[in-house]
């Protein structure tokens, strides 16, 4: 078991005072078959008048809070310790063909199957399109094992798209990302999800963290990181298998899952509505480090 200590600080600074804000956070990691979250907690400044935790439709932790005193900055710090049981990457060749998967999932009436079927459909930020189908097609050659096809797709996205934070914003449409081949992890995740769904493969969006320093001989990149996003694919019999198109890897022990949903809109780390505030400035800092 590997133990991670995660700190995720989000800070809004306003140039006009805010009389009230209401927020919703997907910031505390969920537990999964491979991971267990301990001591997850949010520190909010100024202190909230109301604070409520619940599980959302997908089983993620959601926090609602509101601040009712006048304030000029909001700081939300999520801290947690997460235990991860490293799993060996699945053998790519041993999976059923993608055509077989497509046939079986659409008729799968098991509990897991029904849950997976919603991840075949269009979602608020990922609409099927001819462009997505066309981009994905070279990876989905006849009778190819599903996971091999997905790995190929993920590799192509990794090679053909440029990581460029300035190229996109939270509201850049998927079609534009596909045209310009630039963006950040969440854009690449959306591209992969769209490609998979247009080929009848159930795919969901995973929001989380990447280890900020892989080992002791690498320098610690304290506070430099942001939150991360990747995709997960439903493979009947094997369950959900993660792929990280931004780094072209199959996550094993360096990815900490916070939440999953159909796309980013289901699991936005922090959103809110404020009264007043002028034009706010946003700062985010993340560290996810192993502790022994």
């Amino acid at each position: 078991m590997i133990r991670y200590r995660v700190t995720h600080v989000t800070e809004y600074r306003y140039n006009a005072s805010v009389s009230q804000c209401q927020n919703e956070a997907h910031l505390l990691p969920r537990s999964t078959p491979q991971q267990k979250c301990e001591h997850g907690q949010l520190r909010i400044q100024p202190s909230p008048a109301a604070y409520q935790d619940r599980k959302d439709f997908f089983g993620n932790h959601v926090t609602y809070f509101t601040i009712q005193e006048s304030h000029v900055s909001l700081s939300v710090t999520a801290r947690s310790e997460v235990l991860i049981a490293p799993a060996a990457p699945p053998p790519l060749r041993d999976s059923p063909t993608w055509e077989e998967t497509r046939r079986s999932v659409s008729k799968d009436t098991s509990h897991a199957g029904i849950e997976a079927r919603q991840f075949l459909l269009d979602s608020p930020l990922v609409h099927s399109s001819a462009a997505l189908t066309a981009y994905a097609t070279p990876s989905f050659t006849p009778d190819r094992p599903l996971l091999e096809a997905v790995a190929d797709l993920v590799q192509r996205i990794y090679q053909e798209f440029t990581y460029e934070p300035e190229a996109t914003t939270v509201s850049t449409p998927l079609g534009e990302v596909l045209d310009h081949r630039q963006g950040v992890c969440q854009d690449f995740a959306h591209v992969a999800i769209g490609c998979l769904r247009t080929h009848g493969i159930a795919a969901r969006y995973v929001s989380g963290y990447l280890e900020t320093a892989a080992s002791d001989d690498q320098p610690q990149l304290t506070g430099a990181a942001a939150s991360h996003a990747w995709v997960s694919v439903y493979c009947p019999g094997q369950g959900w298998i993660d792929f990280d198109p931004t780094n072209n890897i199959i996550p094993t022990d360096q990815h900490i899952t916070v939440a999953w949903g159909r796309d980013y809109s289901d699991v936005t780390p922090l959103k809110g509505v404020v009264a007043g505030g002028g034009s706010p400035v946003l700062d985010v800092a993340v560290t996810a480090q192993r502790v022994s």
């Binding site: 989000t10 809004y12 009389s19 009230q20 804000c21 209401q22 927020n23 919703e24 008048a49 109301a50 409520q52 619940r54 599980k55 959302d56 439709f57 997908f58 609602y64 509101t66 009712q68 009436t109 509990h111 029904i114 079927r117 919603q118 075949l120 459909l121 269009d122 099927s128 990581y163 934070p165 914003t169 939270v170 950040v184 992890c185 969440q186 929001s207 963290y209 990181a225 942001a226 939150s227 991360h228 996003a229 931004t246 780094n247 980013y264 289901d266 936005t268 780390p269 922090l270 959103k271 809110g272 509505v273 404020v274 009264a275 007043g276 505030g277 706010p280 946003l282 985010v284 993340v286």
Partner: protein, 852 residues
């Protein structure tokens, strides 16, 4: 009663006379509600038909006009989005009711109640365990693909049940006579208020027929609605809000009408806020708790935090308040899912499993294309089917397969195959026809009946009747308010006499005597303040124009002299709208002044025109509808007619007279009928403030004009302020500036003077709800006291001479400008302190994941 033949009814006599009522073709392709065959009248129509026959076409036509007049005076409207001017359209009601026997209604009612119960169970399940999906009774894609399935609402079920408080169904009768459900309405069904208004109007227009026909009453439905909501409200002693998108909404009339009828607070998103985990109404007295919301806003727009982010139609945090159990929303957020027409294909089986019953009221045969076999059927039979998207989406409309060209059909099929989950095919129902009084005869028109149900602790109660709508043409397939068309009152004819219910809902418990009448929502206070201002501004404008027109008519030769143009300018200055009398090209335009004058009065599209201000009066009145007395409301509605598009100066003069009287009656009725609460106070302050500003502007113009025209000018000022008689009674001599200034500026006993307005404003301001404890003065108090004192210490003695100098002009000019500035500051301070608890609300930039 045996079916009589056409020949036996007096109708036939009319036919022989070639009378209007005689021609009534019956098509064999459709079921006709009145005639079972040409010339054969169904038994339950015979009595009514005889009555219409006895009235005759001329009298029916007269009553039809009366119907429209009553509807117009009651301000019953239906907004049409496509109207470029955004104007409201008067609600259209046929003078002939739709009739159903109580025997048949009982069968329909049982079917509706069963269907409401079924949809209630389905909603409860889909926002809970979703057993229907896991048991294979509903395909997951049918639910998960529908944007009405609001995941944030999952698990946020209202307690206690029921899920569905309100339900409406659109019913159609097929050619074989069976009733089918066309649409289920589970979100925020509209029409119940129109049905009620239709009933009140028709019962008044056809009193004896209505009495003799023993029609089932509607009041029980509304009483049940009230008691159901009262029982479901989690916190007692809180108010219920009717949440409306606002006056631009197509059925806004109904929102205001129902709020007033049910005694709920009409509220827009801005009027509400979530704090401390519960819902509050913003009032001029501070926040007041809200325990229940009847929403007329679609659920996706009901929480900008968790649902549609751009929405301003509801306060952020509403869904969390629902989760907290501090407020109940009817219908619950997420219930729009049940309007999914694809569900219809699965209802019969679900009814069997959940209720152990057959579905009593069948839906129109429906195929959901997400099912492979259904898809194949729809593609094969597309010419006979109606293709509907499972949710309203821009660019996807309901399409009639038969009306498509080959290419259109192919592209539709392609679209369906690409998104099979998003479409249904439905059998095209040839709607039954019902007689409508068109021109001077009865004509058959296709109809749809919307029926309404409300939950009660032991099930559902249906409104006996409902809202019948008829298609605008004989061959119509589609009946919609937006497409134009007519509504009808729907009469369920009682077989036995029914006990009388009062239309005023009986209170659930004894009324506790109160004198407050509720706190005034900030937005209402704002609207009442502006209602006061606009009424006064329009009246002032009308007086200026009247005076100008009279002078023009009197002195054909000296048209549009300097003083006339000066006053027209004064009008524009005071309304800060700068009409085209002033500025570059002024002289030339004044030369064609008559045309310009007409446009300045009548052109609604021109900001600052009289019509423009009049429309603002009507809008402010609509927005504050349930705070006005019925008579005041009718008087405001009548105003709409006061400025017709006339052609001549004398006609225009006549309409201005009418407008001035009309506005005075609005003021009078408001003064006489509104309780002296804060609502009245804000309206009164608005009115006085505007009148003071207006009078100051006229006086300033008077002083600025060349002194040789003095007499004429002051005559006009006196006429424009309706003070000529007062002046003449006091001063036998010719009109003189000093005396006019005293009368219109300082004399606090003259209800037209600036001083009088200031005293009135002061009295009202001193009674406003206070945020600061005594003895501190509020900002409003300080401003008005300072203004009043400034005026009172003004010395006008030196103006009673007949010789003026430049210094005197300048002193006066400064005085007028100072007073105006103070009054405008008062207006701003009021709106800051009382009307806008409302800060600009914004979405925070959501954090995104940007790691590499």
């Amino acid at each position: 009663m045996p079916e009589s033949t056409y020949a036996e009814t007096p109708f036939q006599r009319d036919a022989a006379r070639g009378d209007a009522l005689a021609h009534y073709p019956v098509s064999s392709a459709r079921f006709d509600e009145m005639c079972s065959a040409p010339g054969t009248v169904r038994p339950h129509w015979q009595y009514a038909l005889r009555a219409f026959d006895a009235l005759g076409a001329v009298e029916l036509g007269r009553r039809r006009n009366e119907v429209q007049q009553v509807l117009r005076e009651n301000g019953v409207t239906y907004n049409v989005y496509t109207d470029p001017q955004g104007r409201t359209r008067p609600w259209a009601l046929d003078v002939i009711p739709a009739l159903l026997t109580s025997q048949e209604w009982r069968t329909i009612e049982q079917g509706l109640v069963q269907r409401a119960e079924l949809l209630n169970l389905i909603g409860t399940d889909l926002y809970g365990p979703q057993q229907l999906i896991h048991d294979g009774l509903l395909p997951p894609e049918l639910i998960y693909t529908h944007p009405g399935f609001l995941r944030p609402c999952h698990g946020a079920l209202p307690t206690p049940i029921p899920y569905l408080c309100l339900y409406a169904a659109d019913l159609a009768r097929a050619p074989n006579g069976t009733i089918r459900v066309l649409n289920d309405r589970t979100q925020a069904p509209s029409g119940a208020g129109y049905a009620l208004e239709n009933r009140l109007v028709l019962a008044r227009i056809l009193p004896s027929l209505y009495r003799d026909a023993q029609v089932h009453r509607l009041s029980l439905f509304f009483r049940t609605l009230r008691s159901t909501l009262a029982a479901l409200t989690p916190t007692p002693q809180t108010r219920t809000a009717l949440l409306t998108p606002g006056p631009q909404n197509e059925t806004y009339f109904e929102h205001a009408y129902l709020a007033s009828y049910l005694d709920y607070t009409l509220a827009q998103g801005d009027d509400l806020t979530v704090r401390d985990g519960r819902l509050w109404l913003k009032t001029v007295d501070g926040l007041q708790p809200v325990g229940a919301v009847v929403r007329r806003v679609d659920d996706t727009f009901c929480d900008p935090l968790e649902l549609q982010r751009e929405s301003l139609l509801a306060p952020p945090g509403l869904l969390q308040a629902v989760r907290n159990g501090t407020v109940m929303v009817a219908n619950p957020l997420g219930s729009g899912l049940l309007e999914n027409p694809g569900l219809m294909a699965y209802l019969p089986r679900i009814a069997k499993v959940l209720l152990g019953q057959d579905l009593r009221l069948a839906s129109v045969p429906t195929w959901w294309c997400g099912d492979e076999r259904a898809l194949a059927y729809v593609v094969d039979h597309i010419e006979q089917l109606v293709i509907k998207p499972v949710f309203p989406l821009p660019g996807t409309a309901t399409v009639y397969g038969a009306q498509l060209s080959v290419q259109e059909r192919d592209s539709l099929i392609q679209n369906i195959r690409a998104h099979p989950h998003c479409f249904v095919g439905q059998e095209q129902v040839a709607l039954s026809t019902t007689p409508v009084f068109i021109e001077d005869r009865l004509e058959p028109r296709p109809m749809v009946l919307r029926s309404f149900l409300v939950s009660r602790n032991d099930g559902y109660v249906a409104m006996p009747g409902g809202l019948t709508r008829v298609a605008p043409d004989t061959d119509g397939w589609l009946v919609s308010g937006q497409a134009g068309g007519l509504s009808k009152d729907t009469w369920i004819l009682a077989s036995e006499p029914e006990s009388q219910f009062s239309l005023i809902p009986a209170p659930e418990h004894a009324v506790s005597i109160t004198r407050s009448g509720g706190e005034v929502p900030s937005q209402i206070a704002d609207n009442l303040f502006w209602l006061g201002r606009y009424v006064e501004r329009t009246a002032g404008g009308a007086r200026v124009f009247r005076e100008v027109l009279q002078r023009v008519l009197d002195t054909e030769t000296a048209r549009y002299d300097t003083s006339l143009s000066a006053f027209l300018s004064a009008h524009t200055h005071s309304t800060a709208t700068y009409l085209r009398f002033i500025g570059y090209g002024e002289r030339r335009r004044l030369a064609v002044a008559e045309q310009e004058l007409f446009a300045t009065i009548l052109d609604a599209a021109r900001p600052g025109s009289l019509r423009f201000h009049l429309n603002a009066v009507v809008r402010a009145g609509q927005a504050a509808r349930d705070w006005l007395s019925d008579d005041a409301w009718r008087a405001i509605n009548r105003l709409d007619r006061e400025l017709p598009q006339v052609k001549s100066l004398s006609e225009m003069l006549e309409s201005l007279e009418g407008l001035i009287i009309g506005l005075a009656s609005v003021n009078g009725l408001n003064t006489e009928s509104m309780a002296r609460g804060h609502g009245f106070r804000f309206m009164e302050i608005g009115r006085r403030l505007e009148r003071a500003l207006y009078t100051l502007s006229l006086l300033r113009t008077g002083c600025e004009l060349p002194h040789e025209t003095e007499k004429v000018v002051w005559d006009m000022v006196l006429a424009m302020t309706d003070s000529l008689m007062t002046y003449r009674r006091r001063y036998a001599s010719a009109v003189q500036a000093g005396a006019v200034l005293d009368l219109l500026l300082l004399d606090e006993s003259n209800p037209r003077s600036v001083g009088y307005q200031l005293v009135q404003i002061r009295d009202q301001v001193l009674s406003l709800p206070r945020k600061k404890p005594l003895p501190h003065r509020s900002a409003e108090e300080r401003i008005i006291l300072e203004t009043l004192t400034t005026l009172r210490v003004t010395d006008l003695e030196r103006y009673s001479t007949s010789t003026w100098d430049a210094d005197m002009d300048e002193t006066l000019g400064q005085l007028f400008a100072g007073l105006s500035t103070h009054l405008l500051a008062l207006s701003e301070t009021l709106s800051r302190d009382y009307f806008s608890h409302i800060e600009v609300q914004q979405q925070l930039t959501a954090t995104r994941s940007t790691s590499r």
